[in-house]
Symmetry: C2
Subunit: 224 residues, 2 copies
Amino acid sequence: MTAKNESKNSDNAKPTVKEIPDKIVRRLPHYYVQLKNMLNKDVEYVSSEQLASIMGYSSSLIRRDLSHFGQFGKKSYGYDIHCLYSNLHRILGFNHEKSMVIIGAGFLGRALANNKSYEERGYLLRGIFDKDPAIIGLEFNNLRVMDVERAPEFIAENNIDVAALAVPALEAQKTADMLVKAGIKGIWDFTETPVEVPEDIILIEQNMNDGLCKISCKLVQKSK
Amino acid sequence: MTAKNESKNSDNAKPTVKEIPDKIVRRLPHYYVQLKNMLNKDVEYVSSEQLASIMGYSSSLIRRDLSHFGQFGKKSYGYDIHCLYSNLHRILGFNHEKSMVIIGAGFLGRALANNKSYEERGYLLRGIFDKDPAIIGLEFNNLRVMDVERAPEFIAENNIDVAALAVPALEAQKTADMLVKAGIKGIWDFTETPVEVPEDIILIEQNMNDGLCKISCKLVQKSK
């Protein structure tokens, strides 16, 4: 949670994964999406100023962030996007295989089952669970919904790393407790309610409604 | 996109909405969620250090951000959460009514139709659209799915402010063009593909897969 590992003199240092502080981890997915888009357009180099204008961060912040991935800049051309991308890929751990389950097979859980983003990020979707007998047994993306009662055994036996939590808010804590007890390492939490887990469990809250706030704020600004 | 409006001397100034720069707008939804959770637990005051430990920002950043909402701190108790919350509510424009439609009634669109977060944020969900004849006519949250061909007329006639874009990536740009032409003011974009809109349109990308990146990064850090 602190920036104590952030060093302004790390430009030439071989980046190690441990050096990335939380506040930078938070921005990494944004870099990933932008760099991927650029590669898809066959762009080869990008300056911190160009990234700044696209991403809305200051160019100095971007230079500082990128220094954590090592030094890839060519003064005259900007940063080599292939290098940045491949190092970011490594830092994000996408080359490590992670197994995942989805808890909750409502519409959100089903959307997550159909998500096309797992493979390129190293995730292997192994199962989807629900407690509703009317939903158990349905198939989404070739996965048959299993009874959530079976989840603890499945997670333990298959050494599942990550669970997407797509249950109603009222069931969030109880389900998180079950996941922790079953040996889950990380929870991708869509419940938008406070969930408490032991310190060694990675809990990432995915607040789907962030955008509603930002749009509303900007609409008001424009109307003034 | 710049911090030119950020003033370190604004502690006692009456905050105006125009003064909030983009990089702070980006953090506002996080403050909103945290303050709401605290109010739900009947917490009355919070220090910047407490917020820092919960949110993972530095306490100095938090003090600077909050100075944009005016000065509510009582030295000995910390910030008055009710005051912060109500000012944040105003800055986020939740007291202004905004009408909204959803384009795409796949599982994600249906999850958005069932989303319980609109009312408290001042959004009124008015319609949901799809192009698939097998989906048109189905009902979600008391809204009957309409043919997307009818969307331009519906948006123009009903003066719709915001559209949630929940279509496949390949249809993203085409659909955004349609929305812009129909007079939409803001797009809440779930497509995770680059979409271009004119400068006066508010485009907020809601990258649902951010969390996958963060969890993966943290799993690697822990495994080292």
